[in-house]
Symmetry: C2
Subunit: 461 residues, 2 copies
């Protein structure tokens, strides 16, 4: 199945476009207009002449030019008819937003859609989905208004989610923190295009370096195993599996008609395929972004801090997550002792003390970047102190942009801190609120780096 | 030891007050002036006449009136002298911000301070600490400027932290989310006043309903065991212990001179005393706030959602954290079926669907509040949807304020979502980003409620 018409269409039809700002068809059409999509966009609605000053057509068959991609947001009983018209028009990609199919027991209705899609060779996403985003082509069929759901900037992480709600949460988090995405796909009931097709497409997508995924179920286990193995050897795949308990499976079944399947089986498959499994939505986001860092050579981590307590907690979690506290080289220790005032603690963590300024951070980063005993660097910055301001971000970003070793940041606090975190994150320094999550993510990056480089997995944890 | 002079002083001296905005003594003095402290505040500095238009005294001995509480922020070698003067003046409470004592090996210097404090019966906090806050008395000796470290509003949670950095992070988070605190104490090297004294004081503090604590070490294990048991039976104590690994212990030793001790011993002590142990700083914050909810009668939880996927993840984690998904009563199911449109899924989770409005949430909450099969309620709100706006908060807050059952919220997203979360949180609805953390906290609340009510602990997990 060729999915290009979905992600790189030259022309799009929004079937069910509407005047009413509360209708999904309105929001989607508006997003295309305001989101900067370069191709043609045709609103389709037999009852309306114009929407947002654009001529509206009764059916796709009435549109003069060709259409690559149709977004369908009409009531469930009308979907089969408009999808057939899409087929006749030669539309090769369709996103069916409409719900009311297999997930509510309407198996017949869903089967009908699948048959139409097969007959006309349509790559169909959905039904019962939130839409998709391609930040390069500026395709955006997500039916949530931009003021409520921020759109992330262009970036290297693709995110596929069976659940629209989950999907919207994660991209909203990404946008807020300044993390970019390449593509987002909410694929709902997965009636035609499913997780396997998407993984295969993303494997070869030059704009995607990391794949994040939320699964409720996998339909064809054997195919998934084969494809996932292949994809995860090429690009890191970070995944969360929902519906792991009896209650969760029941809930998943009534949500996307998914038979969730045994948690153990999934975890085993993930391990076998080298998919990195996470347990929470925020982890899905927090673990994905670290995989844009250069691969560490080993598990010896250097910690820089201006707050002792957070250093202690980070050390605890680094060790519990299977990382090792690096023994700094004699040269590093000597240089640090010469440069820093006596109350700076030249250990690991390297505690620059509460009066640390930008210069101390700069020198500390330089030392650890040059120290062959250090494979990765965790920089803890408490922005609350009197001696630091936003300019400390410059030295961290400069070190990070050398792309010699993974550099991540931990910073905990309120509004002032948050602003600085967004600066770091937007510049490609993965920034965390929790030492637990930061070291967990770094540990997985280290594990994955060993997997791919040496061809064998030696999990540290 | 009487700690009242620390938290409810009528007069305060800031020793080491300064003109220089980068000096701690300046920030602290300014915080007292701008923070609304009602009593007298005297700046002390032999080299200056006036600071911020207030007469400055060479020594506390020169101040005409009496002084209850002294904040000491002079260089380490000068601390003993000014502390002795405090003793001679009759000051009964002192917070020594200055570092450079036992934590850097200056055992002799610290011993000297302890002897002076004992001689003059001074309740001494520190040295090497961040200061303290009492939101009722408006005492604020925290040396971080308010624009960098927001101050939380008045509330019911007291927070004590051996590490200043950790302390500042947690109160900053609290302020940002609108969670109130009663007191904050950073107690540093714990040379005189230690965690036991503070716990005892907070047990009897009428303004404190929940105690959150960050420990690096406990000096007198036997006394701690006795006091903690007593306190935790009266008020919930949520604690995190840092320095659990070999590396972490080493880091703690060079930070607050703490001998961190075995992780297992601490965990056993926490279990015995019914202290609720958490593993991360964000959990310390997230778990503490749920303890202001009414005690649940059992572990049967009802989940309301407008996003299926987040409902599934929450169900998974509720079950994995030892909670049970409630079986709604026949009456609840009947009423829900009559009221809600057919695509609303009348299960648990009660999936109100992506087009749910305020009215659906209101009715759903009413049903679960009245259903005797439901002990606690998790409300998932995805604010991104077209049919919801900030007014849905009103119905959740109204239900919560009946204080009949614990009600918590889960909401994940960017800026728009965040604003709404702060509204909920400020009105006393504990609001979470992560289903994992939300259900973990609810599970601990349920466990603690059983502990205290039935006198026996039956951990669900």
């Amino acid at each position: 199945m060729d999915l290009r018409c979905l992600f790189e269409p030259k022309s799009v039809a929004v079937i069910g476009a509407s005047h009413d700002p509360k209708k999904l068809g309105h929001v989607i059409f508006k997003n295309f207009i305001e989101g900067g999509f370069k191709g043609d966009v045709y609103p389709i609605n037999p009852n309306i002449d114009k929407i947002l000053n654009r001529k509206c057509y009764p059916s796709v068959l009435d549109v003069p030019g060709s259409i690559d991609h149709a977004v369908i947001a009409v009531p469930a009983p009308a979907v089969a008819k408009v999808l057939t018209e899409c087929g006749e028009k030669g539309v090769k990609g369709a996103v069916v937003i409409t719900s009311g199919f297999a997930e509510v027991g309407n198996i017949k209705g869903e089967k009908e859609l699948v048959e139409i899609a097969k007959k006309y060779d349509i790559a169909l996403i959905g039904p019962n989905c939130l839409g998709l985003i391609d930040t390069k082509a500026k395709v955006d069929s997500v039916f949530l208004p931009m003021y409520k759901l921020q759109r992330p900037k262009k970036g290297d992480i693709a995110f596929i989610a069976q659940s629209g709600a989950v999907g919207s949460c994660v991209i909203d988090l990404a946008a807020e923190m300044g993390v970019g995405i390449s593509k987002f796909v909410s694929y709902g009931n997965a009636s035609v295009v499913n997780e396997c097709d998407l993984l295969e497409y993303l494997r070869d997508d030059p704009n995607t370096r990391v794949i994040a995924a939320y699964f409720e179920m996998v339909k064809d286990g054997k195919r998934f195993l084969r494809i996932a193995k292949d994809v995860a050897q090429n690009k890191p795949v970070i995944a969360i599996k929902a519906g792991k308990t009896a209650g969760g499976m029941k809930a998943a079944a009534s949500h996307t008609a998914a038979m969730a399947g045994s948690a153990d089986v999934y975890s085993a498959v993930f391990r076998q395929t080298r998919i990195i499994e996470v347990e929470s939505l925020t982890d899905l986001f927090d673990y994905s972004k670290i995989f844009l860092q250069p691969a560490p050579k080993g598990r010896r981590v250097g910690i820089i801090t201006n707050g002792g307590g957070v250093g202690v907690l980070t050390t605890d979690w680094a060790e519990r997550h299977g990382l090792q506290l690096a023994n700094f080289s004699d040269e590093t220790k000597k240089k640090a002792r010469e440069k820093f005032p006596p109350h700076v603690n030249i250990g690991n963590p390297l505690d620059l003390a509460g009066d640390a300024d930008k210069e101390r951070y700069e020198y500390a980063l330089e030392l650890l970047m040059d120290d062959d005993n250090v494979d990765s660097i965790i920089t803890i910055i408490l922005f609350q102190t009197v001696s630091l301001d936003a300019s400390v971000n410059d030295v961290i970003i400069a070190a990070s942009q050398k792309r010699k070793k993974p550099i991540i940041a931990i910073s905990i606090g309120g509004e002032y801190t948050k602003k600085n975190k967004v600066i770091l994150e937007s510049a490609g320094v993965p920034t965390y609120t929790s030492p637990y999550v930061a070291t967990g993510a770094l540990s997985k990056l280290t594990w994955y780096a060993r997997c791919t480089k040496e061809g064998v997995c030696i999990p540290f944890i």
